[in-house]
Amino acid sequence: MTLPEPGSWGPYLAIAAMALATYLCRISGVVLMGFIPLTPRVRRGLAALPGSIVVATVLPMIERLGLAAGLALLAAIASMVLRRSELLALLVGMAVVSLMRAAGF
């Protein structure tokens, strides 16, 4: 049996396929963890997971985005240590990267 080609429905099917793939990513972590018993070891692994995701996402990005980005992130972290405000950290980070990019870095 052969499926008819997507034809004019192509873009909508492509969007639906993306939506399905993304939704499966959204729920599967929660569903899968439901089958794993929460032993102390698993708990420790889960406790380490958020920070690990953050570091694993950000570090290679700094490498790809360059020096200005790295300094901006450091400035944002420093701002966060001094004043626990995400807004301020965001403003500080964006200011640093805009200035450095304007200066040609």
Binding site: L13, L20, T22, L46, V54, V58, L59, I77, S79, V81
Partner: protein, 242 residues
């Protein structure tokens, strides 16, 4: 998915309007960054020849910025089933980090009926994961925070796609203002409230090193998954201080 008919939770499974409001307040910081990101997507979609309906539909149904931009790289005028399947696979690899993000919140979400989780997870994304993670690490347990932040961002994301699409070429290079760094900065800043001392940060170092090496070796976004899993594994193997 069966609706969670059994009423199990011994601990109160909170989901309040006050929580929703708190979530919206916490995510407000990110509004300008998300608007510009969504506008950039709308502009890219217009340039690639998507109809306005297709662009808005994608923002509403996929609601995952990086994967939408990647899809614009792969977009084509004619679609075969193979091309559609390929796009789905690429989308899944870009968004695979959500699997781990969801897993990290599972102990909290497990208290709620499956149907509730199945619905609100549609609005699950980087920003409300970060906000939910921080809120939970402070002892908060109201699911409304996650829901409010996710819904508010979704609405902004979908609406802001419109001006991007319509004004397209008028959008200046967002890089100039550091807009491409909004999420990385927000991610990095979140390390401060997550900090639990150098010992607890040891897995983070493992995650960082493995991610850097993986990024060197393979393209795409595999470094997030490989790095984060290594960090979790290191955390699991580290024994608690006596």
């Amino acid at each position: 998915m069966p609706s969670g008919a059994k009423s199990e939770p011994p601990v109160a499974a909170q989901l309040s309007l006050a929580g929703v409001r708190l979530g919206i307040r916490r995510v407000a910081v990110l509004t300008p960054g998300i608007v510009v990101f969504s506008v950039a997507f709308g502009a890219a979609a217009a340039a690639k020849g998507l109809s306005l309906l297709e662009a808005v539909l994608m923002s509403a149904m996929v609601y995952a910025g990086v994967s939408q931009l990647v899809a614009m790289e792969l977009w084509r005028p004619e679609w075969s089933w193979g091309a559609i399947a390929g796009l789905a696979v690429v989308t899944a690899t870009v968004n695979a980090r959500m699997v781990l993000q969801g897993a990290s919140l599972q102990p909290w979400l497990a208290r709620y009926p499956r149907l509730v989780n199945a619905v609100h997870l549609f609005f699950f994304t980087d920003a409300n994961w970060l906000i939910g993670t921080r809120y939970q690490s402070e002892g908060g347990r109201d699911l409304g925070v996650l829901v409010g932040a996710g819904l508010a961002l979704w609405l902004i994301w979908v609406v802001a796609t419109l001006p991007g699409y319509l004004l397209g070429a008028l959008v200046a290079d967002p890089r100039q203002y550091g807009i491409d760094l909004v999420m990385p900065i927000f991610f990095a800043a979140m390390l401060v409230p997550l900090w639990r001392g150098p010992r607890a940060a040891l897995p983070w170092i493992v995650a960082g090193i493995v991610a850097l090496v993986t990024a060197r070796l393979v393209g795409g976004y595999a470094f997030i998954i490989v790095g984060a899993l290594s960090g979790a594994l290191a955390g699991a193997l580290l024994d608690d201080p006596a």
